[in-house]
């Protein structure tokens, strides 16, 4: 089947399949097995329980908020990095990678220290009546921080590759700047932008380390899904933990499919353009 004169196909393929099987697929199969063991009726009862539903709502809403922040901030950051020359640009570009490189637990305690009532940001926000630490906003802040790079790193290369000719063509036709952005530039970066937003949203849904320090973790109010899984484990309620974790896993699969569909669409767009 493989047309190549290079050796090592069977060895490389064998090692890859064995490793993926043992390290990735085996545990996921065990998780799904455990969840299936519950039976459909009990599975539904567990994942639609009051506390679980509250956790899903808190998680999804916070992830949406965090993604909305990163849609705006990420696009602005990508624009600045791709279009402008200014001193310190390399430093700014490097700083974008900090949320990926910094361990989530470290990010969690740092954000909590900043937003606590006596922290640098908390002191400013408290008189305005805004509470971030140990409140729903804190979950959003932690999710937003850990997913900053996704939109930037998706959009930045596409913006850099965009030639000036289309903009000039639109300009000679008399279009204003906002019009050119809305009808020429934004459509070109839209698939990458959407893929970046989806990745940020998916990451936010599963985020654990950064959130649990700042969330306060009150059931029904500031308890995220990943934490509820952890709590069920500590209560030795393994079936419930498996059921809720498998919902998170299914959400990850759906987001993966969404991102892949967007990328296929983007490829078709590129082929259509050339």
């Amino acid at each position: 089947m493989h047309r190549s004169v290079l050796p090592g196909f069977r060895l490389a393929m064998g090692c890859t399949l064995l490793y993926v099987g043992v390290i990735v697929l085996l545990p996921l199969a065990a998780l799904l097995w455990q969840a299936a063991d519950l039976g459909w009726a009990r599975f539904v009862a567990v994942v639609t329980g009051e506390r679980a539903l509250a956790a899903f709502r808190v998680t999804v809403l916070s992830a949406l908020g965090a993604t909305a922040f990163n849609a705006v901030f990420g696009l602005a950051l990508a624009w600045v990095l791709a279009r402008y020359a200014f001193p310190g640009k390399r430093l700014l570009d490097a700083l974008v990678d900090v949320p990926f490189a910094l361990p989530t637990a470290v990010a969690g305690i740092a954000l909590t220290a900043l937003f606590a009532a006596n922290g640098w940001y908390g002191q400013v926000l408290a008189p305005l009546g805004i509470t971030v630490a140990y409140a729903p906003l804190g979950i959003m802040a932690a999710m937003a921080f850990t997913s900053i790079p996704f939109v930037v790193r998706s959009v930045q290369p596409v913006l850099e590759d965009l030639t000036s000719e289309v903009e000039e063509a639109a300009e000679t036709l008399g279009a204003g700047q906002w019009r050119i952005f809305a009808s020429v530039v934004f459509p070109a970066i839209f698939p990458a932008f959407l893929a970046g937003c989806s990745l940020a949203f998916a990451r936010s849904l599963g985020e654990f380390g950064a959130v649990i320090f700042i969330a306060g973790n009150q059931p029904f109010r500031t308890e995220i899904v990943a934490l509820l899984v952890f709590i069920r484990l500590e209560e030795y309620d393994y079936a419930a933990a498996a059921a809720i974790a498998s919902v998170l896993l299914a959400a990850a699969f759906v987001m993966l499919l969404v991102v892949n569909a967007i990328q296929l669409w983007h490829l078709r767009y590129l082929r259509g353009a050339s």
Binding site: M1, H2, I109
Partner: protein
């Protein structure tokens, strides 16, 4: 190069200055602030207290365990990344897209889900737990589980860095080496690996940073036994919950330092690989 660059949309001086200022301000607040506060909090009680916090037996043990985990997990995932990239980049076969997706899968899965999944394989109520227990082999809540969970979460990192490069480079250089009589291993060692060395190095650095910093997956499988199975991120949580903020932030500076070194490595690798190109 054209002589004069024509202004493009968004290049108006007022818009440019406004957007740049806004982005720099928000970046300073949301990325700079957290980075700075770690070091400020760690040094709040002075350098003496900082070093005392770093050298408590539990924190020293956590640092050691974290390094020991990385020493095993990073080489294994580097080898896996090379094997997977070799199979995917150098050969045509059915199901290539599926295999690529499988290799990248752990990247999309919540670390908590990964930890729970491992519990159902090696834990007391898992598939192999009772057998392993009967044989006297302790995997769960011990060093092997920490390594396994770390392997899961960092499995895609090396392949992600080197695969695009290997696909872009094609196989002509390897074919030339083979036709000159080099063995397959010799070809890999002296042709392929030198061609991808910077991406490979960066992949390894990323893997290392994530292994050392992994929190969610490891916190499920390690059991967080103080002074025994606590890695550095877990030790940070423990100290923080003990209201020992200075100790937690002191331990956090070690991981923040590794994160900064990782970013520095990326800058260096980008510089060298653009020079090679």
């Amino acid at each position: 190069m054209s002589a004069a660059r024509r202004p493009r949309i968004g290049d108006g001086p007022l818009f440019r200055a406004g957007l740049l200022a806004a982005v720099l301000l928000v970046t300073a607040l949301v990325i700079g602030g957290p980075l700075v506060v770690i070091f400020v909090e760690a040094l709040k009680l002075g350098w003496g207290a900082y070093f005392a916090n770093l050298t408590t037996p539990d924190t020293r043990h956590a640092i050691w365990l974290t390094v020991a985990t990385a020493l095993i997990a990073v080489p294994i995932n580097v080898a896996f990344g090379i094997a997977a990239a070799w199979a995917i980049a150098k050969f045509e076969f059915r199901g290539k897209g599926l295999l690529t997706a499988l290799v990248e899968l752990p990247f999309s899965i919540s670390p908590i889900v990964a930890g729970v999944a491992y519990l159902f394989v090696y834990g007391a109520q898992g598939w192999f737990g009772p057998t392993l227990d009967a044989l006297g082999i302790k995997v769960m809540f011990a060093y092997p589980a920490i390594v396994l969970a770390s392997l899961f979460v960092t499995a895609p990192f090396v392949a992600r860095e080197i695969l695009p490069l290997m696909q872009a480079q094609g196989s002509s250089e390897e074919e030339a080496a083979l036709s000159l009589g080099a063995s397959g291993w010799r070809t890999l060692w002296s042709v392929t690996l030198p061609n991808i060395r910077w991406a490979l190095l960066y992949g390894a650095v990323l893997t290392n940073a994530r292994v050392m910093g992994e929190f969610g997956a490891v916190s499920v499988v390690s059991g967080s036994i103080r002074g025994v199975t606590n890695t550095l991120p877990l030790q940070i949580e423990l100290l923080y919950q003990d209201y020992n903020a200075a100790g937690a932030f002191a331990a956090a500076t070690v991981l923040a330092g590794i994160a900064l070194l990782t970013i520095l490595a990326k800058l260096i690798v980008e510089r060298f690989s653009s020079r090679d190109a």
